[in-house]
């Protein structure tokens, strides 16, 4: 058993992953701002990459929190992350270009208070509880903002609530055909919440290895990005949506093959089982 515990604690330290995830997702979120600077929508896919970076960070945070045995199952951590994250994210979109920073600060405050409530008022007494729930709220907010930026090309409230409908060649503003008005935010809420909890839920156990779990997190992120790219066709131009889709499919294919390789590496043994063998003629 000792060996396995060491293995669980090994790998890249959590602080490194946290800083890398935070910096990468913020930079990638701001890269979508190039859309407004240049006047296109082709940079929207950076929002999707920001969600992948945040998901990798998030799955490791869930691992840190859930290795203490909180008793409620791993999915609950994903749900509380997005429940507190969506509130911070929607409020922050009011602040224009400062939105990602405001979202991170506000989510940190919300997460810290919820962490205090869970740890002290509910008497959970888990050493990493406050820090983890703070991180989870930030991750939830960043992922939702990433999807918003990917599907609308911007992370500002006005572009999230107004879309365009073309009737007989006329382009009319519409509140219904938008990221929030069309309810797309509810879909990405669940896309992200499932993608963030799945990697640790699938990889936990004595044979847990860090690189395999993080690769699965990236795979889940790109898989969700494919769905988000398809949905973004309703809002951004078709060209931009196709660029996002292409990036997502390439990323998903790469991470998926890598993940299968790592699974083979970690498995005790594997048999390449065939479909039902043909017994005819014997």
């Amino acid at each position: 058993m000792t060996v396995k515990v060491e293995k669980i604690e090994g790998g890249i330290p959590h602080t490194t992953i946290m800083i890398a995830g935070l910096v990468a997702s913020v930079i990638l979120l701001y890269l979508t701002y190039a859309n407004i600077a240049v006047g296109t929508e082709y940079f929207a896919f950076f929002g999707g990459l920001a969600t992948v970076a945040a998901l990798i960070w998030g799955s490791h945070t869930i691992k840190v929190l859930c290795s203490y045995g909180i008793g409620t199952g791993v999915p609950s951590a994903g749900m509380i992350a997005f429940g507190s994250g969506v509130i911070a994210m929607l409020f922050a979109t009011k602040y224009g270009i400062a939105a990602p920073i405001v979202a991170i600060v506000l989510a940190a405050i919300i997460g810290a208070i919820i962490g205090f409530v869970a740890n002290n008022v509910l008497n959970m007494r888990i050493p990493v509880m406050i820090q983890s729930l703070t991180e989870m709220a930030i991750i939830g907010a960043v992922i939702l903002m990433g999807y918003a930026a990917m599907m609308t090309g911007s992370f500002e409230l006005t572009s999230l609530i107004t879309g365009k409908v073309s009737i007989l060649g006329l382009s009319l503003p519409s509140y219904q055909a938008s990221f929030i008005g069309g309810g797309l935010i509810a879909v990405v809420f669940m896309l992200g919440a499932i993608a963030i909890q799945h990697p640790f839920n699938a990889c936990l156990g004595p044979s847990w290895t860090q690189d395999r779990m993080l690769m699965l997190a990236a795979e889940c992120g790109f898989l969700s990005m494919i769905t988000a790219a398809v949905m973004s066709m309703a809002i951004v131009s078709m060209g931009a949506a196709l660029v996002s889709l292409l990036v997502a499919i390439i990323g998903w294919y790469y991470t998926y093959t890598k993940y299968i390789e790592l699974s083979y590496r970690d498995a005790a043994s594997w048999v390449d089982s065939k479909p039902i063998p043909e017994t005819e003629g014997q």
Binding site: M1, V5, I8, E9, S67, Y68, G69, I70, G71, T72, G73, P75, S76, A77, M79, I80, F82, G83, S84, G85, V86, I87, A88, L90, F91, K94, L106, I110, I113, I114, F116, V117, A118, N120, V121, L122, N123, M124, R125, I126, P127, I161, Y175, Q176, S178, I180, G181, G182, G183, I185, A186, F189
Partner: protein, 278 residues
């Protein structure tokens, strides 16, 4: 600390110092909303959100959550986690209540409560159906000798080495009550936020009330889902994952959850209100 050494240390006791700090945070949040948004609709919305959050947190304690042991027939309850059950009951209630939103606060909240209760009733029935006819296990509680409602004895039916199994009658009733509280609380949050957004958004966006209705509905809905999930998971942390129903000794921990859910709902509700009030 290694992963194996650490175990949830959540006792039944209430940490009075932390609870007092929590209540002070709650009062500060309510006061801050009062000073920023005034005593009008926004303040009423905050009170509604807090009441809804408390109902959700209280309701979760009734729901028989079994988790993985229940799936193996080694503990009573529904074989899944709180997050899934509460999301199911709460969202079913929310959708039910949202359809009735035009009929007024009372009708809509009761409709939402019935929606949540109905989902739990159907879930509990089919869970028991599968337990009894699919897995071949009788329903027996491990926490009490006699069912508090029917008076049926439990011990003879309980297998050795388990904490009970199946879904006893009292757990079924608890599940329905939990669904009613959860669905009603979720709907109340949605309705209070919807009323506020319907009034405030047209002015904020310079648009007609009819145009902003989709935005108001989605914003209120997604905030209600977010606040609902936060409260449900906090209540789940309070019972450390599993509970048999209202007869379980863990049920007595609910005062902690009420304080916790009030703080969390006030915090989330304040931000949700500030999006239109600031």
């Amino acid at each position: 600390m290694s992963a194996i050494a650490a175990k949830p240390a959540a006792g039944a006791a209430m940490d009075m110092t932390s609870t007092l700090i929590g209540i002070i945070i709650l009062l500060i949040l309510i006061a801050a909303t009062y000073f920023v948004a005034g005593s009008g609709l926004a303040f009423m919305a905050l009170i509604g959100v807090i009441v809804g959050g408390i109902l959700i947190g209280f309701g979760v304690h009734f729901v028989p959550v079994g988790g993985a042991p229940a799936a193996m027939g080694q503990a009573p309850g529904i074989a899944t986690g709180v997050a899934m059950l509460a999301a199911g009951a709460g969202l079913a209630g929310l959708f039910g209540g949202a359809w009735a939103a035009e009929l007024g606060l009372v009708v809509a909240t009761i409709t939402g409560a019935i929606g949540g209760g109905l989902l739990m009733a159907v879930t509990c029935m089919f869970v028991n159906f599968i337990y009894v006819f699919g897995m071949g296990i009788p329903s027996a509680s491990g926490k009490v000798d006699k069912d508090p409602i029917t008076g049926d004895t439990q011990k003879e039916f309980k297998s050795q080495g388990t904490e009970g199994h199946g879904l006893p009658f009292v757990s079924y009733v608890g599940g329905v009550i939990g669904g009613i509280f959860g669905g009603g609380g979720g709907t109340l949050i949605y309705l209070m936020l919807l009323d506020l957004y319907k009034v405030e958004l047209p002015g904020m966006m310079n648009a007609l009330p009819g145009q902003v209705l989709p935005i108001a509905i989605t914003l209120a809905g997604i905030f209600a889902i977010g606040i609902f999930l936060v409260n449900a998971v906090l209540a789940a942390y309070n019972i450390t994952g599993t509970i048999e129903g209202p007869h379980d000794p863990k049920f007595k921990r609910f005062p902690r959850a009420i304080v916790a859910c009030a703080i969390a709902s006030a915090l989330c509700g304040m931000v949700a209100i500030m999006i239109v009030a600031v």
